[in-house]
């Protein structure tokens, strides 16, 4: 599978950033991609119930 270019990824979002925005946006996205990839290396069991809701216990 070929990797999508950043321009193609932008087009897929429906966003139309200014051409001069693209390098800065790409740097931000690259950092997000790194952070997301790092998530997969945590000591977490994938058998657990997904936790997409955040709640704190009350005293």
């Amino acid at each position: 599978m070929t990797e999508m270019t950043f321009a193609a990824r932008v087009a897929a979002t429906g966003l139309t950033p200014k051409p001069e925005d693209l390098p800065k946006l790409e740097a931000l996205v690259k950092d997000m991609d790194r952070a997301a990839a790092a998530l997969l290396h945590g000591p977490r069991s994938y058998a657990e119930e997904p936790m997409s809701v955040f709640r704190l216990p009350t005293p």
């Binding site: 979002t13 925005d21 946006l25 950092d31 997000m32 998530l39 704190l56």
Partner: protein
Amino acid sequence: MDLHYLTIAQAAALIRTGKLSPVELTRAFLDRIRALDAQLNAYLLPLEDTALADAKRAEAEIAAGNYKGPLHGIPIGLKDIYNTAGVRTTGHSAVFKDHVPTEDAFTVTLLRQAGAVILGKLSTWEFAIGGASFDLPWPPARNPWNTAQDPGGSSSGSGAAVASGLAMAAMGTDTGGSIRGPASWCGIAGLKPTYGYLSRRGILPLSFSLDHAGPMCWTVEDCALMMQVLAKHDPLDAASATVPPVDFVGALGGNLAGVRIGVPRHFFESDVTCEPDVLAAFNQSVTVFRALGASVQDVTLPHLGRFTDINSLITAAEAYAIHREWLQKTPELYGERGRLRMMAGAFVSAGDYINAQRERTRLVQEVASVMTGCDLLIMPTRQMVAPVLGGYDSSVGPSLTPPFNMTGYPALSLCNGFSATGLPISLQIAGRPFQDHIVLQAGDAFEKATAFRTARPALAATALAAE
């Protein structure tokens, strides 16, 4: 008497006994805003007429024997993402430049019910994200300790106004450090309460699961006075907690004997590095806490970068969910910094977002486990003092505030020194959920054992001499 430098506690004592008029107090602040704010840009919209009307009403109520409590007649500013009925609420953005809400935010209603005087709407980073920007309809706030420097953000106007005596207190919000950052660089006290303690209803959202409202004041004691009014259950905010009332003010005082304090030293000695002045001030603060009777020992938490990464992913994804339509249709109305940070959220996949929330829950469990052995955590709030205005990029590298947005635990920033260049340095105190009163108790004890509340910005001192 310098009315604009009174704390809430001091002013309330005078107002309650009829020695200070809320009208006189409010006029002093309005005069000062008129004289000084062109240098600071703390206010987007001062509310002279309605503030004076609020003050006259407070004065009449008090004269009639209906004193409501310590915020009655106290002049307070609001970050301009707090909705105010009939008054423009812009988020410091052209996107919302004509946005006039029909209702007050729940917290604003509570302040009004307590008799507070709303002085005006304060500068912020655009929609509380990005950084100080020069491409918005209004200029960014400046740091009163040195107007060439950044006041921090996103509650930039709140920090600048309180430090310079342009508001006795202010409301801020905090998604990754936006109360504690400006509290740090402006040398004031700012509390990010436990998630769910303060209602978010009527505050322009940035990140539904990370946004916190909170008070910003000159002293920790004043933050406690504000919390006494603000910590109320809101049945219309799904995250609002139902907890028994706490006497935040009554918890202040006394020593810290028996309090166990943990120091995640790796956060600021290896995960990131601090400026030498910041580290020296922190180590001196440890000595103060020990002298107050607390035990202090190092603890180990997950790597700071882990918290910051997850905070960034969740913030970007949730902010994009909120702003998607405007970012697609009218991106030109945003400033560059806010636009790019929120557009980046379009690239966070649903799977990445859900995994970030799962990892967040695991990190909460890890922090909770460490905190079975200690009551509080302390560390610097920011690893550096205020940089040049516009030079700070909140998206670059780990910082010391997101762990407590991630966990939802309460965290307080307060001044613990000054750099060789005369800029404030700060300490962060975090506690267990809904033990905000213990965090405030420790902060108040620290403030009263040290002398960092005696200095005010030179800008204010200069202006004072001219008045």
